[in-house]
């Protein structure tokens, strides 16, 4: 089972906020010392993080992204994949291989 079949969900320990017109993700748990405690999100990352509150596959995320933004399915899928890889590298997402 590969990346495309797995379900992903954002981990707890982060608070998504809008500060002075910018979306940020604040780390509020054991990760506080990483990445200075917060990450700035662009609009697509902000959208994806919010929908990752529920377990989602790459396919579902791609569809949701194309519905929300003016982007082709190919580019959306590439962006989703890169974003999930970044989240995995930073232990910010739980992966359910058999969900």
């Amino acid at each position: 089972m590969g990346m495309m079949d797995a379900h992903y969900r954002g981990r707890e320990g982060f608070v998504h906020r809008r500060v002075a017109g910018t979306d940020v993700l604040i780390s509020v748990g054991a990760n506080v010392a990483n990445f200075n405690g917060y990450i700035t999100l662009n609009p697509t990352a902000s959208f994806l993080w919010d929908v990752l509150a529920q377990p989602r596959t790459v396919g579902e995320l791609t569809v949701l992204l194309t519905e929300e933004f003016d982007v082709s399915p190919e580019i959306a899928r590439k962006d989703v994949t890169l974003f999930l890889e970044m989240l995995q590298r930073n232990a910010m997402v739980t992966v359910y291989e058999d969900a």
Partner: protein, 360 residues
């Protein structure tokens, strides 16, 4: 008000929450310390835990990102854990300032559950004797070291600082060695110790370093830090000289700010009794964050600021770029907002006399 028309937008991004003015230590150089006789009255007027929780929610709604929890000594509050948790859970970047002498198991458990992003620990000496002399606490050093070691088990970023005065400047190297040995971290120190503000009772002028000592200490520590940061092979090649700082675009221009800094622009303080200040040092200009609510108090605060013309020697001074003067410092040193503070002026003159000198 014309100034408000040309100012950039104000956002309360950085908030200092002063949970209490009370402290278990009695440091001779504390700017904020009140007499112990006032403790009952002070405690009675402190915001309650419910009021702090509500204030934090209002700050959240106003877009505050960074919260500094400080005092006095914030851990002195019996309801510290309750207040801290309610603030933290909302989602801020939280910094906690403490003297580390009051770290109980309950506090440690709360901080482990909700680790601050940064903890600033102030050490006042490297022995109980120094703590007794300077802070009136016979076992202060043992307690602070034990507390700091407990806090070091959290995932938070730790920073160590000290304030150097006549009673402890001989401890400077020992404190720095201790912090390096125990925690593998550098230590910073407050460059200048200012006189008491906002009704503080300590006679700071009697215990602080002379202007010469202050500049020496600052330069010594800066040079040492630069040396540490340089690779060994470059230490002999690099020259370090004190120069005029690069002018900052608009941050120091009173035309674009209110106090000549970020105070009241992006920085805000909510005091122990619910006042909104632009700067923790400056109690002259305030609105009531409890009665008005934070948003309204923040909006109205600029209209409270009235700065008089300052001493012409100051306004025309060619060394202004090296001087630490600001309305808060002027108020602390002179008790008013226009006079020239001699101590600060002497420090600037000392700095100017060292300009161009080879420091490395």
């Amino acid at each position: 008000m014309k100034m408000l028309d040309v100012m950039p937008a104000r956002h309360p991004v950085n908030a200092t929450l002063e949970l209490t003015l009370r402290c278990n230590l009695k440091c001779k150089m504390c700017m904020f310390r009140h007499s112990d006789r006032e403790n009952v009255c002070l405690a009675a007027e402190e915001l309650t835990s419910a009021q702090w929780a509500d204030m934090a929610q209002q700050l959240f709604d106003a877009g505050t990102l960074n919260i500094l929890i400080t005092g006095g000594e914030p851990l002195l509050r019996k309801d510290f854990c309750e207040i801290y948790s309610s603030i933290y859970r909302l989602g801020f970047l939280v910094t906690l300032y403490t003297n580390a002498t009051l770290v109980t198991q309950e506090i440690l458990q709360t901080l482990r559950k909700y680790p601050p992003h940064r903890i600033g620990i102030t050490l006042y000496g490297a022995s109980n004797e120094t703590y007794q002399t300077l802070c009136g606490c016979a076992d202060g050093f043992d307690r602070a070291l034990a507390g700091a070691k407990a806090l070091a088990t959290l995932p938070s970023v730790l920073e160590f600082r000290t304030t150097l005065v006549q009673d402890n400047h001989q401890d400077m190297d020992a404190i720095a060695r201790l912090v390096e040995k125990e925690f593998g971290l550098p230590m910073t120190h407050a460059n200048t110790v200012f006189q008491s503000v906002r009704g503080g009772c300590m006679n700071v002028a009697d215990c602080r370093l002379t202007p010469e000592q202050t500049v020496d200490m600052t330069l010594t520590r800066t040079i040492r830090r630069v040396r540490q940061l340089l690779p060994p092979e470059r230490r002999e090649q690099v020259q370090l000289r004190l120069a005029d700082p690069q002018p900052e675009c608009t941050a120091q221009d009173p035309k674009y700010t209110l106090l000549g800094c970020n105070g009241g622009m992006n920085n805000v303080t909510v005091t122990w009794d619910g006042k909104l200040l632009g700067c923790q040092l400056l109690g002259n200009f305030s609105t009531d964050a409890v009665k008005l609510g934070f948003a309204k108090a923040w909006e109205e605060w600029p209209y409270t600021v009235r700065l008089p013309q300052v001493d012409p020697q100051c306004s025309a001074c060619p060394q202004l770029s090296l001087c630490q003067i600001c309305p808060g410092v002027r108020m602390a040193e002179c008790g008013n907002l226009q006079d020239r503070p001699e101590y600060i002026c002497q420090i600037t003159k000392q700095l100017v006399s060292r300009k161009g000198e080879d420091l490395l």
